[in-house]
């Protein structure tokens, strides 16, 4: 099958690759580009482990074809830390013991980042709603919710 070119911004860096037509963004990121932070859980749009941010919107990379992202700006969890310093959400997930096996964590952090980008001081219900498309089979969700609220508090204290 003929390869098709795709070009997008991945975590602020211009990225270009030749892929097979019909390749999902998840497979392109993990197998071709080498960004393994989005996880392939269900490949059905149910678990949210593959969540990435495309042009500011949360999307599922397992159901998104890479060639439909030509020209887009894509953010994954691996692009959050700056100069070895963890993003406040990553720090909060550690501090609140919100990871166990860690498989769902990148998707959770992406969903939480979109929420905090638009709603810096969310209510608990807003956090629950924002994470409602992401499944965790370990923690029982409460530590994850608390981590997002912790990150929001940390952000507002830093902004003050």
């Amino acid at each position: 099958m003929a390869k098709v070119p795709v070009q997008f911004t991945l975590n602020g860096s211009e990225t270009a690759e030749f892929i097979d037509s019909g390749t999902t963004l998840l497979n392109a990121l993990r197998d071709k580009i080498g960004d393994t932070s989005p996880k392939g859980g269900c490949h059905q749009g149910t678990c949210g482990a593959c969540s990435v941010i495309i042009d500011g919107e949360l999307r599922l990379s397992c159901l998104t074809l890479a060639e439909t992202c030509d020209g887009a700006a894509i953010t994954t969890t691996s692009g959050l830390s700056q100069g070895g310093v963890l993003h406040p959400l990553q720090r909060a997930f550690l501090d609140a013991f919100a990871t166990q096996c860690g498989f769902c964590t990148p998707g959770m952090i992406m969903a939480a980042k979109v929420l905090l980008d638009h709603t810096p001081n969310p209510s608990r219900d807003e956090v629950v709603e924002a994470l409602s498309g992401n499944i965790c089979r370990c923690t029982g969700y409460e530590p994850i919710i608390q981590a997002v609220l912790l990150a929001a508090r940390a952000n507002s204290q830093n902004a003050a």
Partner: protein, 264 residues
Amino acid sequence: MALALQTFSTVKDANAALKSQGTRYLGGGTLVVRAANEGDVSVFGLVRSTEPSLSTITISGGKARIGASVTMAVIARHPDLAPLARAARAVGGPAIRNMATVGGNLFAPTPYGDFTVALLALDATVSTDHGELPIEEFLASRYNSRGIVTAVSFAIPAQGSFRFLKISRVKPKGVSVLSIAAVVEQAVDGAVSSARIALGCMADRPLRAIAAEKALLGKKLTRDGIAPALAVARDGTSPATDPIASAWYRNEVLPVHLGRLLLA
């Protein structure tokens, strides 16, 4: 898995390409890419169109026209479609709503397709390149359709006349046990002057509760007034048994939730 994706600037050209065996139309990807990921080998080519009208919402003269590529997230935050926001938010989590389109929802198999239940209650019209169809006719033969859906249109319901309820076991979001949408209009004295009730998950595709609609006419929305409608709510239903609920359970709880919706 490799799917050849063809992108066309017009629906006309995409329609022509869709005639090839094994091709499916790609909307938001939540149905066809999922099918391919699951190993559906009947799909080996995808077609999509980037025609701008597919992504446009037009509000005019009390009517809404929603392009088939408009997502649930866009509908949920559109100020003129506020009555429908609840139905749009009932679809999936935030990521799914950013991807799932109104056109795709028309083809979502039970137990999915909650927004189509709302469209059925609203008596929507489904547009394709070949013409327009009432949604009931469209749903009756939806899997035989080879024409790309371009839009859905409907009269925006009067304030308070549209009601929607989705029942799921997982909170806040889960797959439907059932969903109900209703457009109920009342006379000045409170008596029901018209009722159109649509049910999701109560058959292999959304269907109307016609017997319940008739039983509501002239009645007030009180516990006694709606009792005859609830008694016939199950008429014509044939729900599936799936991992979410059994057919028996769905039939048992339908009158309960229809009652709650009508009395809300």
